[in-house]
């Protein structure tokens, strides 16, 4: 058993080492700074700038969180504090189901519904032209994907707040909503932040759902109705090229490494901040 455990840990190391090793050629060719902060992408000339892709990922994730967080928060509060038992029993499998639906299905649905809706109904109000394959489409699809995740974590977090604390507030004459606003949310703050962090990680790394609706266009998007090209989509779309140009393979492996590192750093930093908040405010 110990042996297999060590093997498991080894895998994590192997993944990191492997990605770094495979990325070295392209790092040697261009400096790290150049790779991350420039946006010109010319594989045929052997020049790679990942900024567009990084920014696309960030944009799409931000929109996803903007949409998902209020919806999830209010739903979770409702389910946890107001809903009757039968409502909870109904919503619970529904949420599980939503979280189990494979990303590719969301991609199909997004292509069938969201994309045409954006291009026909929504975008004309704002821009001249949009194919519908856009940052917004990616954000909406991702939002729906992360909503069940946030809700389930929030419900666990809310359930962990002791009943006595709610009763204290109510006994003083507060309304239920005041109790929620001033006590529940305050006490659950670390949990809420943790949920958001997890959701952001998930959204950032999601490949196929976004790929199918984001347009995969390498120019920097000028509005949310323009096409974008997040980092995972880059890797998925171009893996075929990996065989022909070794430097291209190295570049894509670097993209994977970037993804890997960004998510790890994000999680680590958030965990630190979370610990700090919890300790400082004794929540």
């Amino acid at each position: 058993m110990l042996g297999i455990t060590v093997f498991g840990l080894l895998i994590l190391l192997l993944i990191s080492a492997g990605l770094v090793y495979k990325s070295l050629p392209v790092i040697r060719q261009q400096s790290l700074h150049d790779l991350i902060f420039t946006s010109s992408w010319k594989p045929s000339k052997g020049h790679f700038g990942f900024l567009t892709f990084i920014l696309s990922s960030i944009h799409v994730t931000m929109i996803a969180i903007l949409i998902a967080l209020p919806l999830s928060l209010f739903s979770a509060i409702y389910l946890s504090e107001y809903a009757k038992e039968w409502v909870k029993k109904l919503m619970s499998p529904a949420i599980d189901l939503l979280s189990g639906i494979p990303p590719v299905i969301y991609g199909v649905w997004g292509t069938l519904t969201i994309v045409p809706w954006i291009s026909d109904s929504l975008a004309p109000h704002f821009v001249e032209f949009s194919t519908g394959y856009s940052v917004l489409a990616g954000g909406i699809v991702l939002a729906i994907m992360i909503i069940p995740l946030i809700i389930s974590i929030l419900m666990e977090v809310f359930a962990a707040v002791p009943l006595e604390m709610r009763e204290v507030s109510l006994s003083l004459g507060a309304t239920k909503w005041q109790t929620i606003k001033r006590v529940l949310l305050l006490k659950s703050l670390p949990g809420v932040l943790a949920a958001v962090i997890l959701a952001i990680s998930r959204a950032f790394g999601e490949t196929i759902a976004v790929l199918m609706v984001c347009g995969n266009f390498t120019d920097v998007p000028k509005s949310i109705f323009d096409a974008c090209y997040p980092l995972p989509a880059l890797i998925a779309n171009n893996y075929g090229e990996m065989m022909s140009l070794p430097i291209y393979e190295s570049a894509l492996m670097f993209a994977a490494l970037l993804l890997f590192v960004i998510i790890i750093i994000f999680n680590a930093v958030s965990r630190l901040i979370l610990n700090h908040i919890t300790r400082r405010y004794q929540l």
Partner: protein, 280 residues
């Protein structure tokens, strides 16, 4: 939520605000009487409280005693409608406060609860600073003026004897206080909304003897202005501080009377047995 307390501490010396440490004068009705009329409470089809009829005298301490499981806590929590959110509970009968049935049709629950301060068994401080804990009640009822809040907090902390101990760390998290201090803080918090009645649910059972004595002393002081109803788990505490005693057994109110009467001359056999220690 951050308040510059130093500033207000200074102004207090030179600019005193008219302050009372007791409840707002009860001009509307004559007696803050608490009357329980034919109260029946069923929890998940189990008849927990059976036809309780009880009158709580004003400005005194009434202790509810009885063996565990007799329904004392259920009764207490029915008095400020804390059972409202529990779907498994059915309540019939009425509880009259200021001649108003708190279970009546158009009653505003938050208004009722403001009249009663509840001190729970385990001190539960809110996840905020000491200051904010006491200020919570006034805040949710609309008081926003920082000066007013400071004055209220100071008065209530003084009333429970905490002021000297915490005046230099009002902004620190309340959870850092000792359990005894926390319970006094909870009392101050409850008093800050100027209730008429104080309810205590075994309020000292989690505390050490010294802290318990402090709280009991506070109750003795407070009874000059409030009606206090305490569920107590030990006969000793009832003997120490009760003015009136209500004895409950298996969901029924067996006997009620002044502490003297009950302890020296109980009428009911069950009461006699319980007081003599035959069962607990």
């Amino acid at each position: 939520m951050e308040i510059n307390l130093k500033r207000y501490q200074d102004t207090m010396e030179t600019d005193p605000v008219n302050v009372r440490s007791g409840p707002v004068s009860l001009t509307k009705l004559s007696y803050p009487l608490l009357r329980v009329v034919d109260l029946n409470v069923t929890i998940q089809h189990k008849h927990i409280l059976k036809n309780i009829n009880l009158q709580i005298p004003e400005k005194s301490i009434t202790c509810i005693i009885g063996p565990s499981g007799c329904g004392k806590t259920t009764l207490l929590r029915s008095l400020n409608r804390l059972h409202d959110d529990n779907a498994d509970i059915t309540i019939s009968g009425s509880v009259m406060v200021d001649n108003e049935d708190i279970y009546g049709k158009n009653v505003e629950v938050t208004h009722i609860r403001k009249k009663m301060g509840l001190l729970a068994q385990r001190p539960t401080v809110l996840p905020m600073s000491i200051f904010e804990n006491v200020a919570y009640g006034p805040r949710i009822h609309g008081t926003r003026n920082r000066r007013k809040l400071y004055v209220i907090v100071k008065n209530q902390l003084e009333a429970v004897g905490l002021w000297e101990e915490v005046k230099d760390r009002l902004k620190t998290p309340a959870i850092k206080l000792s359990i005894g201090q926390q319970q006094r803080l909870c009392l101050a918090r409850g008093l800050a909304v100027h209730p008429e009645i104080i309810l205590g649910d075994e309020a000292t059972s989690a505390l050490d003897p010294i802290a318990t004595t402090k709280i009991e002393q506070l109750f003795l002081t407070l009874r000059k202005e409030y009606s206090i109803v305490l569920v107590t788990h030990t006969l000793r505490q009832a003997r120490r501080i009760a003015d009136y005693v209500a004895f409950m057994y298996m969901g029924e109110l067996i006997e009620f009377g002044s502490a003297n009467d009950i302890f020296s001359n109980p009428q009911h056999q069950l009461t006699k047995d319980y007081i003599s220690g035959s069962f607990s």
